[in-house]
Symmetry: C2
Subunit: 213 residues, 2 copies
């Protein structure tokens, strides 16, 4: 398999985690978002919407959207599972993942922040306030949801799931922008449990071949 991705992209990071948890080798193809490489015609042939990540499967299918890719990996390579087996539990894990992927991350990705500054003339201070507002309120909602669940090592249960694949990149992102992460007890406990695992370490931006930090 081949993964078109960018070391700092949260959505790319989610898929790298899933590939590592599944123990699946892949070719890492860097797409430099800040240099706009995803907007080049060559990349449109890989990803018509010109987004990262794109997974090219062994059958040469091109798959986009990180959560859809992770569900695909979980269906085709079921061990270890990244979703529980029971329907209600699966819904809970998917909802946690979507609380991040649909409620927090879309507001804070590179093209949105650029649009605020370049097209709407928003100041850097206001842009940063916007960023921190959505991450903080989003993670408070995530914590409120976790607080309703039985005690667990990870977001849901005692093995990492799709929810942890989404949480960890969001926390990295929040830390980079100095978001207040205090009081998010269960959220940060799940994050810490993830980061003790070599699979999460290998997937993180500083481990990527295109890392510039």
């Amino acid at each position: 398999m081949k993964l078109y991705n960018y070391f700092r992209s949260s959505a790319s990071f989610r898929v790298r985690i899933a590939l590592e948890l599944k123990g699946l080798p892949y070719d890492y193809v860097p797409v430099h978002l800040v240099k706009g490489e995803h907007k080049q015609p060559a990349y449109a042939a890989v990803s018509p919407p010109r987004l990262v990540p794109t997974l090219v499967t062994d059958a040469q299918d091109r798959l986009g959207q990180s959560m859809a890719i992770i569900e695909y990996l979980d269906e085709v390579y079921p061990q270890p599972p990244l979703l529980p087996s029971e329907a209600t539990a699966r819904a809970k894990v998917r909802a946690l993942a979507q609380l991040i992927a649909c409620e927090i991350h879309p507001l804070n990705n590179l093209r949105v922040l650029k649009y605020l500054v370049r097209e709407m003339g928003v100041s850097d201070d206001n842009k940063n306030a916007w960023y921190r507002h959505w991450v903080r309120t989003g993670l408070e909602a995530f914590e409120a949801e976790l607080a309703q669940l039985p005690p667990s090592t990870f977001c849901y249960g005692d093995t990492p799931t799709l929810a942890d694949c989404c949480l960890v990149p969001q926390i990295f992102n929040g830390q980079r922008f100095n978001v207040d992460l205090s009081g998010l007890t269960r959220t940060m406990a799940a994050f810490d449990a993830c980061m003790e695992l070599p699979e999460f370490q290998r997937a993180q931006p500083s481990s990527c071949p295109d890392n510039e930090a």
Copy 2:
């Protein structure tokens, strides 16, 4: 089952479509977003993140996040299926759904538009330009993805899927804000095919008991 929702909420509309397509009866519980009913303590007991929709299952489980709810419905009530049976095809449908639910809708929901105006002092004109920009560029990406797929009546294949459940509310929303929808040939053909079905008609905002239009 019971669905806490709001007639004009796109995420609520997605779930109403899925319930109609499955032929599942449900109690409609309105939550008035504009009046802030979702922020009341009573609703936090239903939805800790205070979002709509929330589905309360027959077993009294509370499920949030529209795509997670629709996947749950598809697993527990498999007929008619809202996802294809083969893994790559499932990934394609989920990616289409997520192109809307993760790339377009989060930028344009009520709380985001409110924040732009109230907290960032953005003018109404700039707010509307922001809205139209993300819907138009997002739907162009959606159209580019559809253009790679074999001919079909709906977004993917000849029966409605999760992708159509997400597309139709987004088009309603775009029409309401006068977004330019020209040139989106396959996207609008899928939308039109959906709207010929009574299930989509019954789910639409003007059919809801809390409709104010």
